[in-house]
Point group: C2
Chain length 470, copies 2
């Protein structure tokens, strides 16, 4: 199809001229994404200001068979939020739906619209001495709608779960323009099929999340960040076992980093300094939280690390002496993606395997990397406590194109290993456009068939984010 000027006029009338962008310069920010892997075309970016306007847009889109690409903060890494190159897809930005509708401190809930940034949610919770525990590097820009559409993860999944686990209710505009109002604040509700979780993680292919009830938790009274150096991932697993068994849900983060990954952050990002300066092959950043206070969190961290030193699981360890120092530990971890971008081109894998398989997986997948991309260097880091690794391969400086040409063969070889370990090749970043073909080719046909039937049932005219996921 081609979108006619008359159709553009009808869509524009819904949101008003001011919020219907057509000029190339105005739409540019909506057509590209951060990593510059996906560039799209669009004749129109719509910025509705209410759920009703979103509904009117989808009603018209269904009636006319117009493809709609929902977009939040545009921080996604798999191209799910970017229109394709046809120029026939309209972008629907949720960013003007930016109200925090309510905070209910007693119920531990916040009702927010899709366009509120994750950062704003976290700050509003903190103002009430509560916490919304989902945390990702892009939280200043990422919006709740996108967070839910992609079932985002981040650094605190270990203790608090991913976006799915932190959402109690949703308001969703269906492709027909009907509004599913399920903005409940309930911890328990068994009234029929779980519609909420169908939309969470569907990457905007089944409907558009316009608002959500988020779960808030008590702000921990004390936190202790710790850093340790280790000889290998097998020792990291030993440390993880120790920490998990001693701390239970007080272990709120357990991040593994290859020595190379930490060194890269230090080399490229200002004010980054690795807390323990030695030639170690692996680092772990650990965070303990306590409902009672700093002292308890510190005691717990000391207990875990002294046992780990005794048992030879770690070679050295240090506790952050202040909140500022703890933040500086975190800065090393969080700067790795930026350092990777500065250093050279890199090929990424967002994979998960059972935690217990991480050491074997790293050895086996590492060998695959050496075989397929001997010119590359493994920059492995991630949320080890969740079994989730960003198993990235850094290309040689310059020569980006030649290196990136190996993206698909390297992905295929690494993901083969992932599958052998019963793992996922899309652990927390989703499928989007990037991994759609691979999903269809490798997921069991029974599952693909079910997904297609669900897509067909919920979006019979196929207007929702076509070309993504399924």
């Amino acid at each position: 199809m081609t979108i006619t000027p008359e159709l553009i006029e009808r869509f524009t009338a819904i949101v008003g001229e001011k919020y219907a962008l057509q000029a190339e310069a105005d739409t540019a920010a909506y057509r590209h994404e951060l990593r510059k892997l996906f560039h799209g075309l669009t004749p129109l970016v719509l910025r509705p200001g209410s759920t009703d306007e979103v509904a009117a847009i989808l009603r018209l889109a269904s009636e006319t068979g117009t493809p709609i690409v929902p977009q939040g903060g545009n921080t996604g890494l798999v191209g799910g939020q970017v229109p394709d190159g046809s120029g026939d897809q309209i972008v629907l930005s949720l960013s003007r739906l930016d109200a925090i509708r309510e905070i209910d401190a007693d119920a531990g809930t916040m009702t927010v619209e899709a366009g509120v940034s994750l950062q704003a949610v976290r700050e509003a919770a903190a103002d009430r001495d509560l916490m919304f525990p989902l945390s990702i590097a892009s939280q200043g820009t990422a919006q709740i709608g996108g967070i839910l559409a992609t079932n985002a993860g981040g650094v605190n999944v270990l203790a608090y779960g991913n976006a799915r686990d932190l959402c109690l209710g949703l308001e969703v505009v269906l492709p027909s323009g009907e509004v599913l109002d399920d903005l409940r604040k309930l911890r328990k509700d068994n009234t029929g099929y779980d519609l909420r979780n169908l939309f969470i993680g569907a990457e905007g292919t089944l409907g558009i999340v316009t608002a959500a009830v988020l779960k808030l938790v008590p702000q921990p009274k004390g936190r202790q960040v710790a850093w340790a150096t280790l000889n290998d991932p097998a020792d990291a697993l030993r440390l993880y076992r120790l920490a998990s068994s001693a701390a239970g849900s007080a272990l709120t983060a357990f991040e593994l980093m290859a020595g190379d990954a930490a060194r890269l952050a230090e080399a490229h990002v200002p004010d980054v300094r690795v807390p323990i300066q030695n030639e170690t092959a692996w680092h772990v950043l650990m965070e303990l939280s306590s409902g009672r206070g700093e002292d308890e969190a510190r005691a717990l961290a000391e207990e875990i690390l002294s046992r780990a030193l005794e048992e030879g699981a770690v070679t050295d360890a240090v506790l952050a002496a202040s909140i500022a120092q703890g933040d500086s530990f975190w800065k090393v971890r969080e700067s790795i993606p930026e350092a990777q971008r500065i250093e050279s081109a890199s090929i990424k894998h967002d994979v998960s395997v059972p935690v217990s398989s991480i050491p074997d997986f790293i050895v086996e997948a590492g060998a695959v990397v050496e075989r397929v991309t001997p010119e590359g260097r493994l920059v492995c880091f991630g949320h080890m406590g969740d079994g989730n690794l960003h198993f990235n391969v850094q290309g040689p400086p310059g020569a980006a194109d030649a290196f990136l040409a190996k993206w698909k063969p390297l992905n295929a070889a690494v993901h083969d290993v992932v599958r052998r370990y019963g793992g996922s090749f899309a652990a927390e970043h989703g499928i989007g456009a990037l991994k759609r073909d691979e999903l269809i080719a490798t997921k069991p046909p029974v599952a693909i068939d079910l997904m297609r039937r669900i897509k067909q049932t919920l979006d019979p005219s196929g207007i929702m984010n076509p070309g993504k996921v399924i």
Copy 2:
């Protein structure tokens, strides 16, 4: 339809004569449920011994349009597992699928078949110093398949979530007989639509869960059970706020009981003694858990209760001095349903509202009870931390029929109040046959329509547990 002898023979051939029950005496246990509200007829109970046999049964059922009622431990409270009175529905019992396939202590997972009892799962986890934290009164009989099909809750949802939150992967036989194999041990997996959560809580109307990967957590090193008496539910909310803010996820249970509920347990169940003997209107049972040890759990409980006494939120409090005493506290709470059965007929409500609304809800719904059933006595108890109350009304001794005739009008009136508070009228026991009409009449039509479309898509011949949920 009528099930012909020839069809019975074909189904029997799948499982073997020994596991195809036809005699009334043999099928009786599968046709009735605990509370004796639902009595059904069936010409055949099938007891398959493998996933393949379940698949063969559903294939034949689809081909011949034969309705199938899946059944686990038959402990459900809404009639979801019982055949209707037509005599045309075949019961499929999962109890022979009773293998624990694997425990992976490092990954914190257990892979079990549907027929394993919840108790057996909990014990197998404990043997490895791990815990499967879902706990309900019927756990000796209830089976994992039913637990997942109904998204069961229980007393530890507060800290660990309900069945949905404790399941990482599923094996499901679809109505067509195809097997969806998604037995993954992953904490993070964003590869397409969330099929797992569609089957969890669907009460066997979309397919049959034959196996699952369950999430295990570290066994707390110390636990402290405490009991408090309070003047009213508003004070219980104050105590809950105090406890939740001091303990965070270390607060693993917070149960509210009306004085009448506790007294009833003491009167009817042997060896039950309420820990604080006074004329109080309300009781709270609280459990604190610690990853470090008894001392910490005890200190936390002391801190919370001494603050609550100081602030006048509780009138008296006592800590269990031993594990045995803690168990005896729990026994009071767990004996209430049994005591209700012994005392007289009762009308039940399994409702949830936002935690913050509990005090107001109890006042308002209490007034409704007094108006509709002045002859009844409120026996209210439940998982206050989850906003989930068993808001039951005890009839006068004798006169059961006259009292139970008010079941529907009383339900309707109480559920009206529930809806005004944005609550759920099926918080943890599900819809089954009991609440199906009410679900359809009161859930937003957009949601009902979506559920119907999903049911039609997944079960086009309508063989899966017809007459239940939707």
